[in-house]
Symmetry: C2
Subunit: 295 residues, 2 copies
């Protein structure tokens, strides 16, 4: 069974196509890696690159693209709406198949060390790769952004995990981390009452005492006049079907039906296989019985 | 997205490990093919080999293993309980990913022609690859077995689709075909009343006017004292969840619950993804949103 890691680096360039192409080209160069998506945003002045492959190949592509961004992006001249600390702003490694979150955290460490040593960029480890609790959350790492971190990086509290305690003169700093996959999963309600969607969102989100690894808000789909519970689900912590069934019974309390759901972007197959397993009441299905899993 | 074909040739040898190993070795030789299973049965005197890969690689492994069986198995000396017509008795090609049943039928034609020309074995095409309606079903191709076919092969009715109208002196004849995947899917009932399982089986099986591509019988799991609806499902014709939900509502008519289900052996991931799609009421999920599908 092939080991698969997803890597979604964010670079601080969303406006110059030539720079974006040059960075993406470094990923393409690594043959064992599959490029899945490139999403540039002009207002954020930022590009999100998604690729997948084995641990070694993904590590290589992450470093090469970071090195290219370092040589082409000058943070002293960078402006955009999205918070950022460096040319290569953040590199998360996400376990997909036959690899643990802990192994991805070690991968993050390897890449962080390489970036620090070869490119002389200060690097912070976050989420499952974090070495210090106060650096676990990405917003904490990014506090004050490039400009603020430049002032505070020499203080003990903001000392990087690898590399010098000063910003790289043009590329700033970088955050490297490991985290579980988050599925953007939305559940549509048979009502146009936004209040109901918001109440259900509050019932399931971790921040309000709901399920671990679930973020949720209520939103209105104006074109369809449908209220929606919009979630981000760490399906390793809380299975997708549990989120769905909970929204269903909470909605029923208001006499409202669930009319559908949607996955925005990617989902690991396992999240859907778990749902099939639950609903079909499967006894003892092993992963290697699932044909494409055992290849 | 990688194209995947499953191939499950049956060879008329279940007793001599050296012969079985030599045949399987031919499959292993083809690097691009993944050997998934080898199941030899002493009473049947037969071995079932399961492998998967791209169309060209699978074709190659099918021919090589057939050629080896031709040189090592003498049908004049073969005895066993399972009906058979040749050393390589049957070679089915089954679409798994990014390939149609029609393409698998063409694959079957290519392999059938190669076996006929290079090994001088008469070959019959069956199921989706069949050229004549009376040869569509495998039992019709196998009628009279090796001994009977040897008498009748020179008649116009039993003329092979490729190769000579006489048996190969030691290897007999071979059936090559294309068919959809069949999932062995069993649903366990919260009752020890076998009659209920049989009635439900009759309600869903194609032969009794039920769903297309569904075979079903009622059986008793004596160790668990559980009646079971045991099915084989062509999930391209009838989705797994429909079989499950129908068993559930038919059982409810007798006040009986479904206590679980099981998949015996392999299932394509798609059958389970279809179930997740149904139960989560997903709107517009495309295959390339499912991570491992787009590799």
């Amino acid at each position: 069974m092939e080991r698969l890691v997803l890597c979604i680096p964010n670079f601080s360039e969303g406006r110059r196509p030539k720079v974006i192409d040059a960075i993406v080209e470094e990923v393409r160069k690594v043959k064992e890696v599959r490029l899945l998506d490139v999403k540039a945003d002009v207002n954020h002045n930022r590009v999100v690159v998604t690729f997948i492959g084995g641990p070694e190949a993904v590590k290589k592509a992450a470093f090469l693209s970071c090195a290219k961004a370092t040589s082409l992006i000058n943070m002293e001249e960078h402006h955009g709406e999205h918070p950022r600390i460096g040319a290569t702003d953040v590199i998360p490694f996400i376990p997909v198949r036959n690899i643990t979150l802990e192994e991805c955290a070690r991968l993050a460490n390897d890449v962080a060390r390489e970036i620090a040593e070869k490119l002389e960029i200060p690097v912070y480890l976050y989420e499952a790769a974090a070495k210090r609790p106060q650096m676990k959350r990405l917003p904490d790492v990014r506090k004050g952004q490039y400009e603020g971190l430049k002032q505070e990086i020499s203080t003990p509290e903001r000392k990087p995990d690898y590399g010098p305690s000063r910003m790289h003169p043009t590329a700033g700093a970088t955050a490297v981390g490991a985290r579980n996959f988050l599925i953007a999963f939305n559940v549509n309600l048979g009502t146009n009452d936004l209040k109901i969607a918001k109440r259900i969102a509050n019932a399931i989100r971790e921040a309000r005492g709901g399920y671990r690894g679930v973020r949720a808000i209520g939103v209105m789909l104006d074109d369809r006049k449908v209220a929606q519970v919009s979630t981000m689900v760490d399906f390793v912590e809380t299975p997708l079907y549990r989120v769905f069934e909970t929204v269903k019974f909470e909605a029923a309390r208001y006499g409202v039906n669930v009319i559908g759901s949607e996955v925005i972007g990617l989902t690991p197959a396992q999240a859907l296989l778990d749902a099939a397993d639950f609903y079909l009441r499967l006894e003892d299905l092993t992963p290697n019985q699932v044909l494409e899993n055992n290849l």
